[in-house]
Structures are given as structure tokens and as C-alpha cells.
Symmetry: C2
């Protein structure tokens, strides 16, 4: 039996970033950058006006000065000439500040009289002018590799004139449920049977975390059924099995896959819920065997599958851990790291963690309503209301 | 000029939830439930064993009792008969507890001898048995309408035997950029021109918030170009224009759209960045005119477009506001609500907001790196390092 931290390290360490592919910028939302993205242009591309007004030489534009206006410079239509002494060019926000001018006097600070302006309030040198490259320069690294791109990253990289981005290919995760008791939602349920909900849970988690899920079906509880698995998961970067992993007579995944090229790395973790997690390889492809209990399967996915996906995506993984204060007392913990389903509340600055009364690992409703898992280390002494505890946030799962 | 809060209310109030549609549960991730989702089955569907062991009558299973084993009940294969007095059935986790039995003695607590067990540790009545419906009962509301479905919701609703869910149709948002200065990423840029990055920003935000974006192109700065807009946005639930909204000579969107069925609701908001926001209708379709400056456009989208999408999705909107402590002093604020780009850090329990030195609204790189906007109300007095301030979190944008 190994610890949760050891298991995370061994699993994450078994994966390397997948190859890069190029996608159009309009398709790059939530993808992970495979290479540092560098600007292809200066921004602004030239000195630009920050306001509507008049481009002038600040040396000329003293209060009371009367300055002829010799042209206009709206955004996208630069003035062709140069601003000579005691001349002005009408300019608009985003217009290129013409050569010669060094500042923009805003329209509220002049009286416009025919083809001339009278300055009421003198601009400072450089006032209302955005220098070329103020935001970024061609060649600057704007977003670093490993970043999952959000809307503002997309905006910045579009502004930097990048039509395509190099992103990591999406990890393909094949999901095989196992168990005679399982049916699909809406199908006729078996006597005493349940719905294969974990397939849908893991699929949604994989997609939510940036992968592509492939549902390869439900295997019945007989060894022969496993013979075709290596073929049906071909092309996957990771195989996830659900169930058939526990210590009872019906522990099937390992024994049934051994003749088909399965090699085991480890298969028990000192944790609750979720002890019987399998990690190994099916031929070349890494395999994570999650427990059959849906809540255990999801807790293990959150702890172990998420870092595996991050490793394949080349995105740095940091467990979403925060500190919270207990709303109630907790008993001493035993030999397995415990993950207690809890609601979180904010009380002024502090985060308060309130465990659910029912912690049975069959309670999917409780798990869906939880905001976090309170982490109780092995052999933790009793904890008291108000104590600080580590919580694992369930925001993206 | 109206306040930010008034503008949010008027915009959000102009939208109603869109019609519902049914989607397969495997396609429902991140969709918004249109109706309360009720369980179609009890979970567990029958009393079930929480452990591997033996189903017994607790009255029989005293320490030392020798009890014949009359059958097995693995998950998905219920034992056909009944557990009569002084009889046991071999059972596995998830197996149906047969009639007659009221508890499961775990396998570690018996000595198995041929076709019988000798009890070492007596189970309590009900021990290791999950009652029918412990998790939920058919007809229970499991997830309420208006909820954006995460992986654990999907898992719960799959477990409740729902093959399809009723979700709100995705809002269709048509995005029209305007401006002679604009080009597409990777295209030849115009002299003094910039890339139409806001189109990609707003598209990504719309998708990130649960809508569907339709890029209807870049309109040049001439009124005739707007004549076709009502036709090109047909079928959209909302039109977003970018640029052409400011007070200068080049304020086009309103004037150019007036002859084509545009009616104005309001068009100036007391805020910075982003004052010249237009809200109205193009014929029947609501229209939000965002400023041309990309950072202003994104800040306005975060403040006003997100609640509009939530209203169309039927999802309750709550601005992502938190309290943070200032890392530095801030000057008194004027007549516009100010949104200061800032990094957030955690310092033990407290959140620390550190404003960027450069707040110019042309700085897309700064905006991409910001974690939050410090909200400075109209006429706010000077604030000091350590003061508590409201911050608008930029997590999903």
C-alpha cells in the first residue's frame, strides 16, 4: 500500500507531454500552449492617440495659441504628411500620431474655429500618446507554454497577429466500465442492477480537464470479455477501467488482463474512499483502474487522473488545495488518508468547511453537492471546530 | 450617464430564458438545466451490501455461531431465495442483500469453513447494508433548473437513470467588429492598423460562458456598410458590435443603424475603462455595442455580457465579487466607477490585491495577466495599503 502523494508522483511521472498540433486562434480556447507564444508585431504598431483631439508639438501648444489644422488622422487612416511647427492634425482615438507631433490635446481643451484651434489647456509632452510597442514588441513572449488558454489569452495572441497557435494534442482517454450489474441510462435495468454512471462522470471530467474521452463500453464480469480490450483502446493515450479492482472474489481487471499484456505498477493506496486503485500498462498504454464505487472512482479521478492529464498536456499541475476552518469536531483518523465531503462557506476572510453528516461512499448526491474534500492525513489526531484543515477544492469536477 | 449597477439591471432585465432542448446525457456537460431533474429510480435500487462478506440475520450471527452458506449474491446477480433462520449468503460489495437478511458480516470477521462460516465478530442489525433509496428516491429533485452541469452533476443524473436532459438552448451571439483600422490575425495589416482581437476575445468569452458565437465580420467605417447587418445577424439572440461607439466624429454604430431599425435604450455608463457602451435593439434583437478599445470591450463584456448570457440561459447570475486587501495606496476616485487591473495573492487567509503600475486601457498584456479588477466606486476617497476593497474576479474570462 502506498501513500496518495507517492501515487500521484508515480502516475504523473509516467506521462510526458503529447505532440503539438496547430489550430486556428478561433479554435484555441481552453487548449494548452505547446510552445511559448511570441508577438508577431509591435502593439501599438506606431505612436497612437489615446483620445479624440489634435496632434500637436507640445512646444507650440501653449494656452491661447492659435494653431491651423492641416489634416485628419482617424484610426486606420494615418495622415500622410508631417506636423510642422505651429500646425495641428485632427486625430481620433487609435489614430497614428503623425511625425513631428509629440502630444495630443483633447478636443475638450481647445476651441475649434474653422480651420484652426485655440488651445485652452496646454498638453504635456507625450500626453495622450501611446508609444509604439507600449503594450508589447514583436518577439516578446506573451503567453508561456503550458498555459491553458482563456479568453483574455486568446485576445492578446490575436492582437499579436497570431493566426494559428501550437497546442498540445488532446489526450485520448479510453473508458471501459466493468460489471454484470451495469446498464446504460434509460436502458432496462438489471435486477438489483445500477446505471454505469461512472462512465459519464469520467468522460465529463476528462473533457472538462482538456482531454477527449472514448467510451469503449461495459465489460461483463468474465475474463474472456477482456480479451478484446487491447484492440478497442488502440490509439488511446490512457486506458481507464471502472470497477473489478477490489480485493474480493470478483477482482477481475488485473487477472483478466494479465494474459493480454498487462503489467502492474501498483494497485493499492492508503486512502478512503478508493483504496483499490490499479496503475500499470496495457502493452504500451498506461492504465488506471478506478474503483467500481462511483464516488470512490470520482475521488480517485480527481486525485490521480487530473495530474495524469496535466502531464500529457504539458500543463503544470498543482492540486487545488486551500486552507479552511472546521465547522465541527472530527475524530482521529486511522491508517488511510481520508477525504471527507464538505460544503464550504466564506465567513469574512476565512473559509469554513462543514462536513456532510453522511459520508458513505455510495452517496452520489452528497458528492455532487460537495464543494471540497477535507483531507485527513494518516493517523491525524482528533480535530476541533475552528481548527485549520487542508481542503481539496472540487471546482472543476 | 447611468451607473454600472443600473446598466447591469437594465441589460439583464431585457432577456428571458431561451427555449429548452433535449440532449443526451453524454452531451450535457456545461449545459444549463432548463427543468429540475428528478430521479427516475431509487438508488440503491434495493438494500445493498457495502462490503464483501456474508448476508445474515443479525439475530443469528452471534460470535461463535456456525452458519451454513446457501448461495451467493455478487453485484448484479441477486440471490433468488430468502435467508431463513441460521443461514447465510455469500455477498459482495454492491450485491443485493437477500430477503430475510438484515446485515452483512464482513469476510474478515468470519472463518469460512467449507459450506459454512463461523462468526468471529457479530454484526449490528443493519450493519454494512445500504437501504433502498439511501442516496435518492425516484421523483426526488437531484439538480435544480438553472444549474450549469459539472461532471459530478452528470454522474448523479446518469445514476438516476436519465438518458436525456432538458437544457436551455445555447444563446447565439452575433459579433460584428467595426473599424477601417482592423485586419484579421495573420492577414496583411493596414498602415497604422491593428488586429481585430476583440472579435476573438468576445467569441471566446461567449463560448466560455455557455453561448455560441457567430463572427459576422468587420464592418468598414461607412454607414452603407451597416445596411446588411440586420440580415447577417438573423437568428441571433443578441448582437454585439465592437467599436464605433465613442463620442468623436467617428461614432457610427448608432447613427448608421438608426435607418435599419435600431432603437436605443441607453449608451453611456459612468465607468472606466469603457464609458461608451450602447444598449438597444436592432429590430427585435437586443444589441450591445462595446467600445472599440479591446480592454474596454472585454471589461464591459465581463460586466454586462456575462449577465445577459446568464439571463438567456436561465442561470442565476452573481457577479464574482470577493473582498481583498490593497497592497498599496490608491488615489481618490472621480465621477466614473473605476476598474483597476490587479494581481491577487493569498497571504494566509487574506486575499491581497496588487494593482498593475500601468493601467492604460490599451494594455492587453496587463489585462491578460490580471486576476481581478479592483472596483473603485464613484467619488471613492483615497484608499490605503491594507484597506479592504471589492474585487471582481476574472477567473472565467
Amino acid at each position: 500500500m502506498i501513500s496518495v502523494d507517492q501515487a500521484v508522483q508515480r502516475i504523473a511521472g509516467a506521462f510526458a507531454p503529447l505532440p503539438a498540433e496547430r489550430v486556428a486562434i478561433a479554435e484555441a480556447l481552453h487548449r494548452v500552449l505547446a510552445d511559448d507564444a511570441r508577438a508577431a508585431c509591435d502593439q501599438p504598431p506606431a505612436p497612437m492617440s489615446a483620445m479624440d483631439g489634435y496632434a500637436v508639438r507640445s512646444i507650440d501648444a501653449k494656452a491661447g495659441a492659435n494653431i491651423p489644422v492641416i489634416g485628419t488622422a482617424p484610426a486606420g487612416k494615418p495622415f500622410a504628411g508631417r506636423v510642422e511647427p505651429n500646425r495641428a492634425v485632427r486625430i481620433f482615438t487609435g489614430g497614428v500620431v503623425p511625425e513631428g507631433a509629440d502630444s495630443v490635446v483633447i478636443q475638450e481643451d481647445v476651441d475649434a474655429k474653422g480651420d484652426a484651434i485655440v488651445v485652452k489647456e496646454a498638453p504635456r509632452p507625450g500626453e495622450n500618446v501611446r508609444a509604439r510597442g507600449l503594450d508589447f514588441r514583436a518577439g516578446d513572449i506573451l503567453v508561456e507554454r503550458g498555459r491553458r488558454l482563456g479568453p483574455r489569452d486568446i485576445a492578446l495572441l490575436a492582437a499579436a497577429d497570431l493566426a494559428e497557435l501550437s497546442v498540445t494534442r488532446k489526450p485520448r482517454v479510453a473508458i471501459a466500465a466493468t460489471g454484470d450489474e451495469l446498464s446504460r441510462p434509460g436502458e432496462r435495468r438489471k435486477a438489483g442492477g445500477i446505471v454505469a454512471s461512472s462512465t459519464y462522470a469520467i468522460q465529463a471530467m476528462v473533457e472538462s480537464w482538456g482531454g477527449e474521452a472514448i467510451d469503449v463500453g461495459i465489460l461483463p464480469d468474465k475474463p474472456e470479455a477482456y480479451a478484446t480490450l487491447p484492440e478497442s483502446v488502440r490509439g488511446a493515450d490512457l486506458v481507464v477501467t471502472l470497477g473489478g479492482a477490489s480485493v474480493g472474489d470478483h477482482d477481475l481487471v488485473q487477472s483478466a488482463l494479465l494474459p493480454h499484456g498487462f503489467t502492474l505498477d501498483f494497485w493499492r493506496i492508503a486512502m478512503r474512499p478508493g483504496k483499490p486503485l490499479i496503475f500499470g500498462r496495457l502493452k504500451e498504454t498506461p492504465l488506471i483502474g478506478l474503483p467500481g464505487n462511483p464516488v470512490s472512482a470520482m475521488v480517485c479521478a480527481v486525485l490521480f487522473l487530473a495530474p495524469a492529464l496535466s502531464a500529457m498536456l504539458g500543463a503544470p499541475y498543482r492540486a487545488p488545495i486551500a486552507t479552511a476552518r472546521l465547522s465541527t469536531n472530527l475524530k482521529a483518523n486511522g491508517k488511510r488518508q481520508d477525504y471527507i465531503r464538505a460544503k464550504l462557506k466564506r465567513d469574512s476572510d476565512a473559509l469554513i468547511a462543514e462536513p456532510f453528516a453522511l459520508q458513505d461512499s455510495s452517496m452520489q448526491k452528497v458528492f455532487a453537492q460537495a464543494d471540497a474534500l477535507i483531507v485527513r492525513p494518516i493517523d491525524a489526531p482528533p480535530a476541533h471546530a475552528g481548527d485549520a484543515v487542508e481542503v481539496f477544492l472540487l471546482d472543476h469536477c
